[in-house]
Assembly symmetry: C2
Homo-oligomer: 306 residues x 2
C-alpha cells in the first residue's frame, strides 16, 4: 500500500519533506552544460542530458535524508521526446536509490483518457504516485483507483493549490462551502476506499502551504488523506505555515520544496559557502535545514497544544 | 490570428468539424500492425509506428474535407518517449497537409509551469492550439496569452466537459451561477483581449455536445469564444444536440468526433462496406456524413428561427 510505504519512509528518515526536481536549464551549473553540450550539442538532447546529470547529483546527495522526490513533468515535456525520456530515467534513478517518486503531472480527462494516463504513469514501475486535476469530476478520478490498488500506487488530487490565483475557481462559495471544500469532500469519500494499515489513504490531496487557515479546515475534512504540500520556500510559505497540514500525530503531510533546494548553491544563503561544483552538497544542506525547521515547527506546535 | 484562420478554414471547407486522432492500438487494422511490428517489434516503438502509419492514412484521406484535427496526447504519452515523438510527427504531417492542429493536452499548473507547457506546445510550429484546465485559476491561464498573440495560437479552456461526471464540480451552484458559468465569465473576460478580424477570439471554450441546454446559456455568456465541442458520436450526442453551440451565423463552434470517424471501418454502419485495408476511406465517408448531418441540423435551425 502506497500510504504505508510513504508514512514509513517519512518516519524512518524523520523527514516529512519531498524534493521537487524542477530543473531549469538556465540555473544548472555551467560546468554540467559544458560537459553535455560538448558531447550532445546545445540542443534538446544536450539540455536533457544536462538535466539528467544535474538530477543524479542531487539524488546522490539527498537520498539518505529525504523520503521522496517530486518530478514536475512540464520541465521535461518542454524538451519533447528527449526530455520525456530523461523524466522517466530520473524516476528510475531515484527509485534505485530507494526514494519514493511522485510524478507531478496534474492530468485530468474523461475516463477513457484517464485510463491512458494511469497506464502511462501508475503502471510505470519507477513511479509511486501522481497528481491529478479534479475539475472534470469524480468519474475522471475513479479510473486511477484500479492501479492504485493493483500496483500499490498513490494519487494526490488537487484541492487547494498554492498559487495566488487559486481563489478564482477554488474559493467560489457554494451552498455547501467553497469549491475546494466540495473537492475535499469528494477526496475524503474516495480516499476512505483505499486506507492502509497505518490509517492513511493512498489517495491524498494537494493543499498549498500558502493557505494556513484553509489547511486547518481541510485537515478535518480529509482525516485519512496524506497532504502533498507545495508552496514552501520559493513560493513564500514558512515552516510555521505548513504545520496545519499535519495531523495530531505530526504526520499525514509531505512538504515540497523545489527551486530553493535544488538551486540552493545560487541562493543568498549558500552562495558564499558552495561553488557551482558543489551544487549537490548545497542542496543537501538546504534540505537538512528545511527538515530541521519543519520538525521544530511541528514540535513547537505540539508543545503549545500540550 | 488563430481565430481568423480557423473560421476561414471552416468556411472554405464548409465543415465545422474536427477529427480526433485518438488511436487505440487494439482498433488499428491488423495489416498495419503486421508491417510495423515486423520492422520494429511488438513494443512501444512498433506500436508508435503503427499509430503513425494509421494516422497518416486518416490524414491523407480527410485533409481536403475537414479544417482541423485534434490530437489527444494521452494516447501517445502512454507509449513514453516513442509515443511522444509520434504525437509531434502526427502534428507535423497534418500541418503539412494544410490542416489546423489542436493538441488536446488539458494541462493546468502554476504560472512558472504553465510557461513550460506553453513553450512545449504553443511554441511548436506544427501545433495551432491547445486545451487547458481552469481549476487552478486565472493566473494559470494568463501565461499562455503571450504565445497566443506572439505566435498566433489558440487556447480552448475547459468550461463544461462532455462526461457524465462533469456535474460533480462544474455544476456546483455558487452565488453567481454554476461553477462552469463562473469559468465562462472568466473565459469571456480573457477572450475579449484577443479578438480577430472576424469577431472571434483566439481564446475559446470546451463545451460538451452532451449538454444542449447548458450550451445555449454558454453561447450567450461567451459571444466571441469559439467552442470546441467534444462528445459527438461515440459519446452519444447528435447533430441536433450541438446546434446550440453555434451562434446566429452558424459559426463559432467546431465539433469533434474521434473513434466514430477513425475507426469507422469497424462500425455497424460501415463494416460491410469497407475492409480494414480501406479504414481511411471509411473515415472519410463517416466525416462526410457527419459534415452533412451537422450542416443540415444548422440549416434546419436557421429555417425554424426564420
Amino acid at each position: 500500500m502506497f500510504s504505508d510505504k510513504l508514512i514509513n519512509a517519512i518516519k524512518s528518515k524523520n523527514n516529512p519533506t519531498v524534493v521537487g526536481l524542477d530543473p531549469r536549464i538556465e540555473s544548472i551549473p555551467e560546468f554540467i552544460k559544458e560537459i553535455t553540450f560538448k558531447k550532445y550539442g546545445n540542443n534538446v538532447k544536450g539540455i536533457s542530458e544536462a538535466i539528467y546529470y544535474f538530477n543524479k547529483g542531487i539524488i546522490d546527495s539527498i537520498f539518505d535524508v529525504v523520503p521522496a522526490v517530486k518530478i514536475q513533468v512540464a520541465f521535461y515535456e518542454v524538451y519533447g521526446p528527449d526530455g520525456f525520456d530523461i523524466f522517466f530515467k530520473t524516476a528510475e534513478y531515484a527509485k534505485e536509490k530507494g526514494l519514493m517518486v511522485i510524478a507531478d503531472v496534474k492530468r485530468g480527462d474523461i475516463a477513457d483518457v484517464a485510463e491512458m494516463y494511469s497506464k502511462a504513469y501508475l503502471q510505470n514501475e519507477y513511479i509511486d504516485a501522481i497528481t491529478v486535476n479534479p475539475y472534470m469530476g469524480e468519474d475522471t478520478i475513479t479510473p486511477y483507483i484500479h492501479d492504485v490498488i493493483e500496483h500499490e500506487k498513490g494519487l494526490f488530487i488537487l484541492v487547494k493549490t498554492s498559487n495566488k490565483g487559486s481563489y478564482t475557481i477554488q474559493n467560489l462559495e457554494t451552498e455547501n462551502g467553497t469549491v475546494y471544500e466540495n473537492v475535499a469532500n469528494m477526496v475524503n469519500k474516495i480516499s476512505n476506499l483505499v486506507k492502509g494499515k497505518l490509517g492513511y489513504s493512498s489517495i491524498g490531496a494537494v493543499v498549498g502551504a500558502t493557505h494556513k487557515e484553509e489547511a486547518k479546515i481541510l485537515r478535518e475534512k480529509m482525516p485519512s488523506a496524506i497532504f502533498l504540500v507545495p508552496g514552501y520556500g520559493a513560493q513564500g510559505a514558512t515552516a510555521e505555515d505548513v504545520t496545519n497540514c499535519f495531523d495530531e500525530n505530526n504526520l499525514g503531510a509531505i512538504v515540497n520544496s523545489s527551486r530553493k533546494v535544488i538551486f540552493a548553491y545560487k541562493s543568498q544563503y549558500w552562495k558564499d559557502v558552495y561553488s557551482e561544483y558543489e551544487y549537490a552538497q548545497a542542496a543537501r544542506s538546504e534540505v537538512v535545514l528545511m527538515r530541521g525547521m519543519i520538525n521544530n515547527a511541528l514540535l513547537k506546535r505540539k508543545y503549545i497544544a500540550c
